[in-house]
């Protein structure tokens, strides 16, 4: 069984969960004996050995070049145009030209490869997937990690993106959704028949060993003085609910004065978040670390007393599982896919600030609650792995 996969990003050149998910899934597929050819739109030095990489922009002469680009799967067109002025990229046109260009370049790869199934991840690669199916007649699976409705977090949807998503879902033989939450959106907003959609929950890569990572100095100081730390990790965009995080912080601070709120990530709402915190008179309780990865991120996780994901609309959400792996009790938005697979977490509606805040205080005040949450979620997270996700995909491939 050989699968031709179209993606958009891959670690370490990823800006978020999509790249992590593609890595985890392809690795597990390879371990189960599936050949995966993974296509990326542009050349980047990838260390992965478990699948064959193809780069659409330099096919035939695989060169490892780092390309300065502002493309991320999470960007909106307006943001792209805005950023383009500041970044010297080699691409012309808009984000949408990039997507179209990717589909065109994919043709050469399709012509040379043999494969049984085409598997395309998220809208940026859907057109490439459609192109491949048109050329070969092979079955197409589109994998929905996020929809436009999640990305805009209640704002207005970009018609062009929506059209591509819709076309991909309808043209595909099978749609994979990362959660029941996402499946419902696909049915309701894209009119895809329910029986065409399979839910394949993401996994999380097992942490074989927890590295010895130092605690950041500022955190060490706080902890020494008996302060508690509540953590937010993720892109600071409308979708992730940073404004709700500030409101929760405000409410918690009314009740406990020794709690600090650490924000790890970056995004277009960072400025607003700082302003909001200042307006609420709790700016000094906030610490912004910027975007972190690897050991640095781990060390922040490890120092947290609690992790919150107040996302407005989260198709899956891998970060809470990473927090669990680091032994951090979690509070997650019910409007998320991860809440379908993680039972040992506190859950609340993202808009219910009082409920969220009450749960934060509950955890911070009761060691027994922290300990029980930690103990049972750690046990549970080992069962949320990529192997299971890969097996579900293989079942799907075998049906064609």
């Amino acid at each position: 069984m050989k699968v031709l996969m179209f993606g958009w990003e891959f670690p370490p050149y990823n800006s978020g969960g999509l790249g992590v998910a593609c890595w985890g899934l392809t690795k597990a597929l390879a371990e189960l004996g599936i050949d995966v050819v993974f296509v990326l739109p542009k050349s980047v030095p990838i260390g992965a050995t478990h699948c064959n990489m193809r780069f659409a922009d330099s096919y035939g002469e695989i060169s490892f070049r780092k390309i300065e680009t502002c493309l991320t799967p999470y960007i909106t067109s307006a943001q792209f145009m805005n950023m383009k002025g500041r970044v010297v990229g080699m691409y012309g046109g808009s984000l949408f030209d990039e997507v179209l260009r990717y589909a065109e370049l994919a043709r050469d790869i399709v012509r040379d490869e043999t494969f049984d199934v085409i598997h395309a991840h998220d809208w940026l690669s859907f057109l490439a997937g459609i192109e491949a199916k048109k050329m070969t007649g092979k079955p197409l699976v589109v994998h929905v990690h996020a929809t436009e409705f999640d990305r805009v977090g209640g704002g207005s949807v970009n018609q062009f993106v929506y059209e591509i998503e819709r076309e991909g879902m309808h043209y595909a033989d099978r749609v994979v959704a990362v959660s029941q939450f996402t499946k419902n959106i696909i049915i309701e907003k894209y009119g895809v028949p329910e029986e065409k959609i399979t839910v394949v929950h993401n996994g999380v890569e097992e942490k074989n060993f927890i590295g010895v990572v130092g605690v950041p100095e500022f955190v060490r100081q706080l902890k020494k003085n008996g302060k508690k730390i509540v953590l937010f990790v993720g892109r600071i965009t409308l979708q992730k609910g940073p404004d709700y995080f500030v409101n929760i912080a405000k409410r918690v601070s009314e009740y406990m004065d020794n709690v600090y709120f650490v924000v790890s990530g970056s995004g277009d709402m960072e400025g607003k978040m700082i302003e909001d915190a200042a307006r609420s008179g709790i700016a000094e309780k906030f610490i912004f670390t910027g975007f972190l990865r690897g050991d640095e991120l781990d060390s922040v996780y490890r120092s947290a007393d609690m992790y919150i994901m107040p996302s407005v609309s989260e198709p899956f959400g891998i970060a809470p599982l990473e927090a669990v792996q680091q032994g951090v009790p979690t509070l997650i938005s019910r409007q998320s896919g991860v809440s379908e697979v993680l039972s040992h977490a506190l859950k609340a509606d993202f808009w219910d600030i009082d409920d969220m805040a009450s749960k934060v205080v509950g955890v911070l005040e009761h060691k027994s609650l922290q300990k029980t949450l930690r103990e049972f979620s750690l046990k549970e997270v080992t069962k949320i792995n990529w192997k299971e996700a890969a097996q579900k995909c293989i079942l799907l491939y075998n049906k064609f």
């Binding site: 805040a357 509950g362 005040e365 009761h366 949450l373 049972f376």
Partner: protein, 414 residues
């Protein structure tokens, strides 16, 4: 000739509504007006409609039709409180059953509590108050005791004997019985007269748990099949003790499983064999001698596959919550505030701690099914917040007392 002894447990806790830190000091109705499954009045009405009313009607018909049919009940005090408040018609239907003279009522702790494990004084008080409410509402005085969730060991048997009871009920757990049969009466180790009745969990659970299960090899269970299993114990036992939650009928096993038809047909089928009969716990105690001593040093219960205490105290939250609530005992009693005392006792109900159980939670087991909370953690948070509010009330009533002392003194002087 095996006698069939039915004992039904009837209990509804006072569930705590979602109670956040922001409710502390403001909201004192912990048990009223909850949303969804924490709304006690709504739950009581629902279960009354599905179970209590139709099952009582069925049982009453059977008692009238078969003068030899007997059953026994234990109705928790918190359950009776709720009947008095929300469903007097259901209370009346239980009174009608008792009035037939074929129904025995048992005693338990009023608040369906784990008090024996934490405070003997509180345990005795709750046994006393339960005895009183049964006498007040039904005009009878129970002689047989069953502890919350059939939690049992030698010490409990001894304590209950000292309180004057002639019998006590327990689970017929394999790990305690070994080769011994649950179908005889035993003498608890360290007691003189009290007799121990053990649940035949296989036959009980055939009705309570497996009845509607289509992948069970004996599905569908019919009354004549079950009666033949009972008769099969002829010569190898005195009694078949069928102990189960009353909510089995109509609530756990829905009407469409045929559970009511089964119940209606069962007495007739059992009595077809002239060697069989029905007895209440007191009648078993009167008619049968014990066959030996049973030594149960460890606590056992009828809960979960472990049949121990782990349903209520296996994680740190449960331990903390239990310790914290019993720590208030002295202060609550000293306050003399009856409303506060009642609220505190309602917090002692074992169900609150059952909801905090994390064992098997991720597998969606019965704890999750029976819990009105989304997670065990939510159960814990609401409970602990209520305790905080209660502490505020305690300090308030403390202050009031301080103020009232000089006034009293002044009056005394004049």
């Amino acid at each position: 000739m095996p006698s069939v002894c039915f004992y039904f447990q009837v209990h509804q806790p006072m569930r705590i509504k979602r109670y956040s830190i922001f409710d502390i000091g403001r909201e004192r109705n912990y048990f009223v007006g909850g949303e969804g499954k924490t709304n006690n009045e709504m739950i009581l009405n629902k279960v009354s409609g599905k179970c209590y009313i139709p099952t009582n009607r069925t049982i009453l018909g059977l008692l009238q039709k078969y003068p030899d049919f007997k059953v026994s009940y234990s109705l928790s005090g918190v359950f009776l409180d709720q009947l008095l408040e929300f469903a007097p018609d259901v209370l009346k239907s239980f009174q009608d059953l008792v009035d037939t003279g074929q129904v025995e009522l048992l005693n338990e702790t009023y608040y369906h509590s784990l008090s024996f494990l934490y405070s003997k004084e509180e345990f005795r008080e709750q046994v006393r108050s339960h005895k009183k409410i049964i006498k007040d509402l039904f005009g009878v005085t129970p002689r047989v005791f069953r502890n919350t969730e059939l939690i049992y060991n030698n010490d409990i048997a001894r304590e209950v004997e000292n309180l004057g009871y002639v019998g006590i009920l327990a689970e017929g757990a394999d790990h305690v019985l070994g080769w011994k049969s649950p179908n005889f009466l035993y003498r608890p180790k360290g007691t003189d007269n009290i007799k121990l009745l053990l649940k035949n969990y296989r036959l009980s659970d055939d009705i309570a748990f497996r009845f509607g299960s289509k992948d069970w090899k004996d599905y569908p269970l019919t009354a004549d099949k079950f009666a033949s299993w009972v008769s099969g114990h002829n010569g190898s036992g005195n009694t078949i003790n069928l102990f189960m939650d009353y909510e089995t009928f109509g609530e756990h096993q829905w009407e469409d499983t045929g559970i009511f038809n089964f119940l209606s047909a069962l007495p007739g089928e059992v009595l077809k064999n002239p060697d069989n009969n029905f007895k209440t716990p007191s009648e078993l105690i009167r008619d049968f001698d014990t066959v030996g001593e049973l030594d149960v040093p460890q606590y056992m219960s009828w809960a979960d596959i472990e049949r121990d205490l782990s349903a209520w105290r296996s994680n740190d939250m449960q331990h903390e919550a239990l310790t914290a609530v019993y720590e208030l005992e002295r202060a609550v009693l000293a306050s003399g505030d009856e409303v506060l005392q009642k609220d505190w006792r309602r917090l002692l109900t074992s169900d609150h701690f059952y909801y905090m159980c994390t064992k098997w939670f991720a597998d969606g087991d019965v704890h999750k099914y029976f819990s009105p909370y989304e997670t065990p953690y939510d159960a814990f948070i609401s409970f602990m917040n209520v305790l905080k509010d209660m502490k505020i009330r305690l300090s308030e009533s403390e202050k009031q007392k301080e103020h009232s002392v000089p006034i009293k003194k002044m009056y005394a002087q004049t």
